[in-house]
């Protein structure tokens, strides 16, 4: 079967297959290269975090301490103070980046990110409620935040479900639910003591202050389970991205595959919020950055996760050391980066006339 005959010479099937194979390998190399560069950025952020601070440590000392040597002082600063916080920043960024990438790919909407559609608000509301009314703290608080995220996600999903999920409707309903939950949080804070409200405010901005190994290990455990699960579930994404009809025609179990992915993405946002509070804009901004680095690669989940890591790592670094004698919460720095991007996105959508 030769299709349309033209005057130009048609390549044979074998030649065409070889050409496509070359194209595919070229794209895979590009993907690998970008992931490598992002990983280097992440490791650089980690290393710089370990070296900088009130006690500046040279790279050599840090390296020795990590390998088990170094004096007690360095070991305390690096291993007890800086390392858990830096690793936590990277992990939080990874989880948020991955979560945002899944939401945006699945719902085909750049506005669809867990901090916009109510998932992070759900985690925040649950955490504030638990800590203020019931005095919950520590790992139980993290668990409460996770439950809040899943409950909010489930609520938005059920409200948006009508013979299937429409991305636009889910985003709108999510924004509504998120706003409602934020007002609950505001109300709770008006009913609390000033000091409680103040620490709640800091938490709500998304902060890594005072975070150490007790916050790190639960998040690590959760990400180690959720990230591979998400990447496995993303196997269905190439089909799901083509719309429900086409996806079903390609043999995807549309409702089930989508639910698995949304569940994983919601859980990732939930555990990350539990660890560091609702760090704004990371989930929102990382996927478009990753897509810009790798145009034509579709969802680009892993690059988005690594971008998130780099972003939060660098943001926390900036928040700690940019201004003298002041520690800015990491959520503030990511907001400074993310808010202009949101405005640009909205302005561009209006001008070009495309939706979202």
């Amino acid at each position: 079967m030769n299709g349309l005959d033209t005057m130009a010479e048609q390549p044979t099937a074998a030649e065409a297959a070889a050409r496509l194979g070359r194209l595919r390998r070229h794209r895979r190399r590009g993907f690998g290269a970008v992931c490598l560069v992002l990983l280097l950025a992440v490791l650089t952020a980690l290393l710089v975090s370990l070296c900088t601070g009130d006690i500046a440590l040279p790279v050599g000392d840090v390296w020795d301490t990590l390998l088990g040597g170094g004096d007690a002082g360095s070991r305390f600063v690096v291993v007890e103070l800086r390392l858990p916080r830096a690793l936590l920043a990277l992990l939080v960024g990874f989880a948020f980046g991955l979560s945002g990438a899944v939401f945006q790919a699945l719902l085909r909407n750049p506005l669809a990110s867990p901090d916009v559609i109510g998932v992070s608000s759900g985690a925040a509301a649950a955490a504030v409620l638990a800590s203020m009314v019931y005095g919950v703290s520590g790992i139980a608080l993290s668990g409460t935040a996770l439950v809040g995220a899943l409950a909010a996600g489930a609520g938005v999903y059920l409200l948006a479900w009508r013979r299937g999920i429409n991305g636009q409707r889910l985003v709108l309903i999510g924004v509504g639910v998120g706003t409602g939950l934020s007002s609950i949080v505001s109300y709770l804070m008006t009913r609390s003591e000033v000091t409680e409200a103040q620490s709640a405010f800091v938490w709500l901005a998304g902060s890594l202050n005072g975070r150490s190994w007790p916050q790190f290990w639960p998040l690590f455990g959760a990400v180690v389970v959720l990230a591979p699960l998400t990447l496995l579930g993303s196997r269905a994404l190439p089909a799901l991205q083509l719309g429900d009809g086409t996806a079903a025609g390609l043999g995807a179990r549309v409702e089930r595959d989508r639910l698995v992915l949304l569940g994983c993405a919601t859980a990732l946002a939930g555990v990350a919020t539990a660890a560091a509070g609702p760090v704004g804009f990371v989930a929102f901004v990382s996927p478009p950055i990753a897509r810009r680095l790798l145009p034509g690669h579709g969802a680009a989940l892993l690059p988005a996760a690594l971008t998130g890591s780099a972003l939060v790592g660098l943001a926390d670094l900036a928040g700690q050391h940019a201004l003298p004698h002041t520690q800015l919460p990491v959520g503030l720095v990511t907001g400074v980066v993310g808010a202009p991007y949101l405005l640009w996105l909205l302005a561009r959508a209006n001008r070009v006339g495309q939706g979202g």
Partner: protein
């Protein structure tokens, strides 16, 4: 070589919510042939195609693929035999043509998605057939409507199914691209015996390209059969409410419907 897979509807009732659009319809797609469904707007032809493609669960009755209820068959198994190209398919932003066509291989790939030589060859064959190989590394967004539709058809072809359902594949194309697509589908049918079912708006192209024509109105099949046998002025009037004269197409000999409106019509002598 003819496709041996059969797709039938038995006492099929379809609707959305309370509204019933198709009632107790019986249909059997002739295997290895090109079937075209025509009818006025809102007659249920797209709804019927969606039901045959397993995209719409029936209110009553069943759709049978090779004698088995299509809704009780695992979806991957169905997708290996039955391909569907819905109306106005959506592509994600910034995706290249080779990637989109490659997604047609989804039903053939295992759990861990190993890409094999067979996949490469199927995609290459599909892209050669639709003449989009030169566009392989271009972004789908940049293509013209006709090129984009050919890429979607390439994706459906890469799925390598024996039965292919297409919902209005030519609606947004200009006339030369409409003919390109229909000729391509005919090549596919003649060379590989693929069973095709299309919904078309253009009655004359439907008459020319269909082996089996189904005319629907208000959820019922009014007539079905080879176009030469069933297309008459009275059928056109019954289905479309249109006064017409039906003459043999000078190019193909199939029935050609000449519409008679209120203006620009010479009264018969």
């Amino acid at each position: 070589m003819t496709s041996s897979h059969t797709l039938q509807a038995r006492q099929l009732s379809l609707g959305y919510g309370e509204r019933e659009i198709v009632s107790r319809l019986d249909l059997a797609l002739p295997p290895g042939r090109i079937t075209v469904v025509v009818g006025p707007n809102a007659c249920g032809k797209s709804t019927l195609l969606r039901a045959l493609a397993r995209l719409l669960p029936p209110l009553a009755g069943s759709v049978l693929l090779d004698g088995c209820d299509i809704h009780r068959t695992p979806t991957k198994e169905v997708a290996a035999t039955l391909g569907v190209l819905p109306q106005s398919p959506v592509a994600p932003d910034a995706i290249v043509v080779a990637d989109l066509v490659g997604r047609g291989r989804y039903p053939h790939q295992g759990w861990f998605r190993r890409w094999t030589r067979a996949d490469d060859e199927a995609v290459a064959a599909a892209m050669l057939a639709t003449d989009v190989l030169d566009l392989a590394d271009r972004s789908v967004d940049e293509l013209s409507g006709g090129q984009r539709q050919r890429v979607w058809i390439a994706m459906a072809l890469a799925q390598e199914t024996d039965v292919l359902l297409l919902d209005e594949p030519t609606t947004y194309l200009d006339i030369s691209h409409q003919l390109d697509v229909l000729d391509l589908l005919t090549d596919l049918n003649r060379a590989r015996g693929v069973t095709l079912a299309l919904v078309l708006h253009d009655l004359n192209l439907a008459c020319r390209y269909a082996d089996h024509l189904i005319a629907m109105k208000a959820g019922r099949i009014v007539a079905e059969g080879p176009p030469g046998d069933i297309v008459t002025a009275s059928l056109v009037h019954e289905v479309f409410g249109l006064r017409s004269a039906v003459i043999p197409d000078p190019a193909s000999g199939t029935p050609m419907v000449v519409p008679l409106g209120r203006h620009h019509v010479t009264p018969p002598a």
